[in-house]
């Protein structure tokens, strides 16, 4: 018991310290919101983020700052959406906050998302939050080609979409088939965005002759298969993954083609959140400088322009490489078409 008391005192002291050291953020958040959130005492977060990498550090930092407990549940975006939908339909919502790249667009239609943006949002570029006010981005994903440096010599690395049609890559490329931006449909989307409908389709038709292997695993495992030497090139993987593995000595590298897809991991509160104030405070924290620093430390690309990623070269700057940004709504609206094209040409 004594131990618990001491821990609590230490937490309160730490929270006090954090707030006094960072006067900027203390001012940015309304004190009445903090009070109401602390009264609720708890926030439930359904997350698609990896626990060890991001979910726990962010939750712990939030608890240190405000003394509010974060209960997180991790699942993929499909499972998160299934839970939220069913909880919402039954009127027994458990989650206060959730994140993901596209699910929010569908959940918005079912009135399951809270319309609220934190004060910090105004410091962000306009692309990085929902103009209707349902979500704000926390970090950026950049989807590029990943390759095995043992299998692909430096002078052979593809730089353009056309390069992938080279017969030397026949049967040596791989992607995953899920209904997701970090998969075949996402690649098809960026091809169409770059080349237009007609040329894009002709290109996809030519690409289908390259016999790309289709895996039903996450983009991260697609890259792992390339690192293991099963395939030479992975299409549409997260570029930071290639860098993380390369740092451990793996023969992996990434390369942007003519255009790349950039998507957001966005965070939202649920419309029927049991702890609405704590939910708001948590979202605000995720996009604060402190919260964004945690994304940076996990090797993600923070959206806060003030927090540079650990590897700035990962972020598209329009000079070294170019990206088209896809909001959750844009992904949601186009995904059925991209997926249908995948089935038409590649299945």
């Amino acid at each position: 018991m004594q131990y618990v008391n001491n821990t609590r005192k230490a937490l309160i002291f730490a929270a006090y310290l954090a707030m006094s050291v960072l006067p900027l953020r203390a001012q940015a958040v309304d004190q009445s919101l903090i009070d109401a959130a602390q009264k609720e005492g708890r926030v439930v977060w359904y997350t698609t983020q990896i626990i060890d990498q991001l979910a726990r550090p962010l939750a712990e930092a939030f608890t240190r700052t405000y003394g509010i407990k974060v209960d997180y549940v991790r699942a993929d975006s499909n499972e998160v959406a299934l839970r939220l939908l069913n909880e919402g339909k039954a009127g027994r919502v458990q989650a206060d906050v959730f994140d993901g790249t596209a699910a929010v667009a569908a959940l918005k239609r079912d009135h399951l998302v809270m319309q609220w943006l934190p004060p910090h949002t105004k410091d962000l570029p306009a692309d990085f939050y929902d103009p209707e006010g349902y979500w704000v981005a926390t970090n950026l994903y950049v989807l590029t080609l990943g390759y095995n440096t043992d299998a692909v010599p430096a002078n052979k690395v593809p730089h353009h979409f056309e390069d992938l049609l080279d017969p030397q890559w026949k049967g040596k490329m791989v992607w995953n088939t899920s209904h997701s931006s970090s998969a075949a449909p996402g690649f098809i989307g960026v091809v169409l965005a770059s080349m237009g409908e007609e040329k894009g389709r002709a290109y996809l038709k030519a690409l289908s002759a390259q016999n790309i292997a289709s895996l039903s695993v996450a983009a991260r495992q697609v890259l792992d298969q390339v690192i293991a030497g099963e395939y030479s090139i992975a299409l549409n993987i997260f570029n930071n993954h290639a860098l993380i593995s390369a740092a451990k000595g793996a023969p992996s590298q990434w390369q942007a083609l003519d255009n790349t897809m950039a998507t957001f991991s966005v965070i939202s509160a649920t419309a029927q959140a049991p702890h609405p104030h704590a939910a708001k405070l948590f979202i605000d924290f995720a996009i604060s400088h402190e919260g964004q620093a945690i994304y940076r430390d996990a090797d993600y690309i923070p959206i806060d322009p003030a927090i540079a990623p650990r590897h700035p070269e990962l972020r598209p700057n329009g000079v070294d490489f170019k990206a088209t940004y896809f909001t959750p709504e844009r992904l949601d609206a186009n995904m059925p078409k991209w997926y249908a094209l995948y089935r038409e040409y590649f299945e």
């Binding site: 439930v44 990896i50 626990i51 060890d52 990498q53 726990r56 209960d71 997180y72 549940v73 991790r74 699942a75 993929d76 975006s77 499909n78 499972e79 959406a81 299934l82 839970r83 939908l85 069913n86 909880e87 339909k89 039954a90 027994r92 458990q94 596209a102 699910a103 667009a105 569908a106 959940l107 079912d110 088939t177 899920s178 209904h179 292997a213 289709s214 895996l215 039903s216 695993v217 996450a218 991260r220 495992q221 890259l223 792992d224 690192i227 293991a228 030497g229 099963e230 993954h241 993380i244 593995s245 451990k248 000595g249 793996a250 949601d332 995904m335 059925p336 997926y339 299945e347």
Partner: protein
Amino acid sequence: MTKQGGPSYFSSWLSAHATQIITGLIVVVSFILVVPPLLIIVRGAVVDVDAQGWSLNLHRLSFIISQKNFIPSIIHTLAFACGSSVIALLLGGFSAFLVARTNAPFKILTHITSLMSLGTPYVLYVSAWLSVLNKSGPINSLWRAWTGSSQLLFDVYSLSGMILIEGLLWSPLAFLLLSTSFRYANPDFEEAALISGASQRHVLMRITAPLAAPAILALILLIFIRCLEAFEVPSLVGLPGKVHVLTTDVFEYINRTMPPDIDSGNAVALILLALVIILLMIYRVLTRHRGSYATLSGKNFRPRMIDLGRGRSLAGGWLCLNFLCVVIIPFAMLVWLSLSPFYAPVSWAGLQRLTLVHFEHILHSERYLALIGNTFLLSTISASVVMIFAALSSFLIVRNHKGAVLIDLLASLPLGFPGIVLAVGVMQVFLALPIGIYGSIWIIIWAFCIAYLPYGLRYCVAGMMHIHSEIEEAAIMSGAHMFDVLRRITLPLLVPSLIAGWTFIFLVSTRALSVPIILSGAGSQTIALAMFDLWGNGQSPELAALGLMWGAATGILAYFLHRITEKTGLGLRA
């Protein structure tokens, strides 16, 4: 049933109506467990609900059936399930026979084999085998180095690759279930035949095998259905080779929209259910004459050990080979992976990079400890509840009591529920009810009880079929109550089956993913979820390390359970 009443009116009434009471209870419980998710599946698949009320809607079903890949999917599904069950049965069944009935050496290896491989998460086991058999794996690499060709010796991403890996995956189950059954073999029939001059082989073909037939059939059915529902192998091995089966179709139908279209999943599940029901009906017809398989009568039931003579070393070689294939090769791959800094193929260069850092991470993580606690708790409770229920049900089913057919059907239906469909069904049930177990470990236990009920039941039915009713009848004639008979005679005789079934359910629920991923809350996370997290994060080496430690821990636990049965004199002599 008995005229000799107990001391009081109540107990004599209880005794007279014992079977009816038990039957009633079992029917009610299985109804409560199975029917709600079943209704949700049927409703989702073929019913539309709108302002006007309910209406039948077959468009989802007809859409799925009209797809050009539907027939190939069905054919692949059946071929995959047939092939895998044959391999599992050959590998596991033959080993079970050698271990339970002969003096073959190295028997203990087979127990270790079955328990360790059942404790390893599927995804890990499958990816270990893939690393062995894929293009960059040692087998194809050696072949290329040896022949100088660029061709593959074996393309694992094919139907035959799927069958091989799935068969290996289920051979331990075949072993566990059949060794229980072989253990019950009555020595009297065999000895009588031997004395009458029959040869050893003749006895085997005409007596031992036919007596084990219902158990073997039950097992084929179980593994066949399990393969119908298998997801990991079809998705990791089949899809890259463009081999689709029904379960990968369920997955694709559910996930091709956002939000996921669980109703299309329900529709495919309905087709799976229909297949399962047909199989169960065939099985019932085939095992109509249950009474003739009872081998455990009032007398000693220690099986006669066959002396293999010179064949002993061959048998030992087989058991070692089995151990090599099912444990050593995949586990060696996992050891390699767990020591590599990143996901790397086996190579000389890789040797210099090996590191223990992943094991250190796990041993220093407090999170895993809490997850292990949760996992043990919910697996223990689920396995115990299911086995108690299954023991009573199997008694009624095998003794052909009134209502048995209904119980058998209800308790077998969950075989047709794909994991994610069941999980969403259970979620909907508890969200609709004013019972606050959603998000706690209890809702996971509830779903596990439904999912594993059929397995518990098959274990018990196989065991119960060997216990002749004459033992129970003798006790009743001597004035025992039905409850006493169950408690003091039938259940103790069933202990080996109960423990085998318990171990199986315990192990499969520790590694199950599709149920906890939908149903767990913040405080009810399991170790399988942590493994899924590592897998999703590209931390395959740390996953391998965790999987190895977990496999070893569950293996040791299961081994002690096995020793306990052995000490009671009911277990298998290793």
